[in-house]
């Protein structure tokens, strides 16, 4: 019994990080109606960011977080101007394909550089004991940092002028433009933020599990599951849904082989998409395209 409880609590910790990753997708979707298929590649970029910074330059693992965050933000703004700006407002096919093609290029370069070998980041943090079970310190730290980042994101979106501009553009781009908000800059900024969140979540995931260049796909799909559960365009919903997915994984792990959890997640994904196109926790109505 205590084993199941521990597994559930651990699921919550890991799920929070999934929620962080999904926030990146959902922010971009909400603001510009673009599904960012470079998300997986950016998660991997965060993973290799922390691997290289801590491994080669000897920077403490958690001190790389601001570097990864800022780096992701800059890369995201670059990506926006390179691949996204021209397709914002066009049919979804175009933005899906343009971000997807960037993803192909990045994964191709990554595979050429590192192959598909398994990497991991060494962290030594004391765990927290609860009876016979010990929660890994890395899991606690990742969940705590996710809470901090989520809080900062909330303060930014609801308490700052720029954040309000982001929400205004998300609500109605034309109206925002009419009241003098520089929408193009807001779009670029939001894309940069979304990518930065993806990179940071990748950095945190790298401290939890081993990874390869191709790991991004699995986490990107998890992010989609979380995003549709939480409602596209809803960051708070994403965090809650991430925790729900983590709970589901925690619940499933003691009873079935790990390879089946993926099947369950995708069945949940498709069923939720079909039954609740606005997201289970979503407050927004789904858009038709």
């Amino acid at each position: 019994m205590i084993g199941l409880l521990a597994s559930l609590l651990d699921g919550i910790l890991v799920g929070a990080v999934y929620g962080l990753a999904a926030m990146g997708i959902t922010l971009i979707w909400g603001v510009m109606d673009v599904i960012n298929l470079t998300h997986g590649a950016m998660i991997v970029a965060g993973m290799f960011g922390v691997y290289l910074l801590s491994g080669s330059l000897g920077i403490p693992v958690y001190a790389t977080l601001p570097i990864v965050l800022v780096g992701g933000f800059v890369v995201g703004i670059g990506l926006y101007w390179l691949a996204v700006h021209r397709v914002v407002g066009q049919p979804p096919l175009m933005s899906l394909l343009s971000t997807f093609s960037v993803n192909l290029v990045l994964i191709g370069l990554g595979t050429a550089a590192w192959g598909t070998a398994l990497f991991n980041v060494q962290v030594s943090l004391p765990g927290l004991s609860l009876g016979r079970y010990t929660f890994p310190g890395t899991h606690l730290m990742a969940a705590a940092l996710t809470g901090v980042i989520g809080g900062v994101l909330y303060l930014f979106l609801y308490r700052t002028r720029t954040g309000k501009a982001v929400r205004a553009v998300s609500g109605n781009r034309e109206a925002a433009e009419l009241v003098g908000i520089p929408t193009r800059r807001v779009l670029a900024l939001s894309f940069g933020l979304g990518v930065a969140l993806a990179c940071v979540s990748g950095m945190l995931i790298a401290t939890l599990f081993p990874f390869t260049v191709l790991s991004g796909d699995a986490y990107q799909l998890k992010s989609f599951v979380v995003t549709v559960l939480g409602g596209l365009g809803n960051p708070a919903g994403a965090l809650a849904a991430g925790i729900a997915l983590g709970l589901l994984e925690g619940l499933a792990t003691p009873f079935m082989p790990v390879s089946w959890t993926l099947v369950i997640e995708f069945v949940v994904f498709v069923v939720v998409l079909v039954a609740f196109p606005g997201g289970v926790l979503g407050l927004r109505r789904a858009r038709s395209h």
């Binding site: 979707w29 599904i35 691949a83 021209r86 397709v87 049919p91 979804p92 096919l93 175009m94 899906l96 394909l97 343009s98 997807f100 093609s101 960037v102 993803n103 192909l104 290029v105 990045l106 994964i107 191709g108 370069l109 595979t111 050429a112 796909d217 799909l221 989609f224 549709v228 082989p257 390879s259 089946w260 993926l262 099947v263 995708f266 069945v267 994904f269 498709v270 998409l273 079909v274 196109p277 789904a286 038709s288 395209h289």
Partner: protein, 322 residues
């Protein structure tokens, strides 16, 4: 048979004849293997194009039909000793029926939601097959070489498979063409332009979408059966390879989505490009990078693909090509 009188009908026939005869002349096995890959690309891209180009629905997981078709065929042959043609046809019908079932669910979604769900379907099916005992789980199924016996031994069987694939390729092109010039195809094109408007004007959109999703599964499933029989081996990562799915989208976009000629042209050129990249010492590791870069350039600067450029340069060709 109004179509027979159109020049395009005979252009397709000429393409099929060229594919069938070119390697036969001089027994050129190397050329045959290259063209075999091109036929698979053409089959996948033409069928994907009916979803992507006509109805405007992005299917990232089209490869699931190819893989499932391969599994059905290989399983029926190895476990029950079915002959090749019966096994592939049964596979095609079974996969079409499954596609109808999936389609009823996920076709209620539109745009990006649908695109994400297709990835989900492919991954879920792959995860299921990886854990499915009768289909060999993650190790897959091997075919015994004895199964090549009824086709006159391995060497002769490879030729037979090639001719069958060329036939399926021809059927794919004729299917694309027939659908495009039918009332059904016009309905699909209307859905691609504006689904709500099409529905208001009396296009039975749910039925048409389900039909095209199921139809676009049939020939890829048969091609999958033939392809994996040829390799005498099937396992989940090869059968449900998202990279091949991706390449199919690149191909359709490269040639020109929504046209019949485009995907075929794109497939042939992509196969040539790929062959050149694989043998080039500098670029052999960068196949994905180049495919991605190519796709990005097309999406941003030439969304009509090669056919779009050709039509702009020679508008008269619109009357001959489809």
């Amino acid at each position: 048979m109004r179509l027979v009188r159109r020049p395009f009908f005979w252009i397709i026939a000429a393409v099929i004849a060229t594919f069938a005869l070119a390697p036969t002349y001089g027994n050129n096995v190397e050329l045959r293997e290259g063209l075999l890959l091109a036929t698979v690309y053409i089959i996948l891209a033409s069928n994907l194009n009916m979803m992507l180009g006509y109805a405007g629905y992005v299917n990232f997981g089209g490869i699931v039909f190819f893989g499932l078709g391969g599994y059905f065929c290989v399983w029926l042959m190895s476990a029950f000793g079915w002959p090749l043609v019966a096994a592939t046809l049964t596979g095609g019908v079974a996969v079409s029926a499954l596609a109808l079932l999936f389609g009823l669910g996920i076709l209620r979604l539109r745009g990006a939601y649908f695109a994400l769900a297709t990835v989900g379907v492919n991954e879920a099916v792959m995860a299921f097959v990886t854990n499915f005992g009768p289909w060999g789980g993650s190790t897959g199924i091997y075919l015994s070489p004895a199964l090549f016996g009824p086709l006159g031994g391995p060497a002769k069987a490879l030729w037979t498979i090639y001719y069958l694939l060329v036939g399926v390729m021809g059927l794919s092109l004729y299917l694309s063409y027939t659908v495009k010039s039918s009332k059904f195809g016009l309905g699909l094109l209307a859905i691609g332009q504006n689904e709500d408007a099409a529905s208001v004007l009396g296009v039975p959109t749910p039925r048409y979408k389900a039909a095209v999703y199921s139809l676009s599964a049939f020939l890829p499933a048969i091609a999958g059966g033939l392809y994996f029989f040829k390799g005498a081996f099937i396992q989940p990562p090869d059968a449900f390879d998202l990279q091949l799915s991706t390449e199919t989208i690149v191909i359709a976009m490269l040639g020109g989505q929504g046209t019949v000629t485009g995907p075929a042209l794109g497939a042939y050129l992509y196969e040539e490009l790929r062959g050149w990249l694989l043998t080039s010492p500098t670029f052999s590791n960068f196949q994905l990078v180049i495919a991605g870069g190519l796709l990005l350039v097309i999406v941003l600067f030439a969304p009509g693909g090669l056919m779009g450029l050709i039509y702009r340069r020679w508008p008269r060709l619109r009357r001959i090509l489809e």
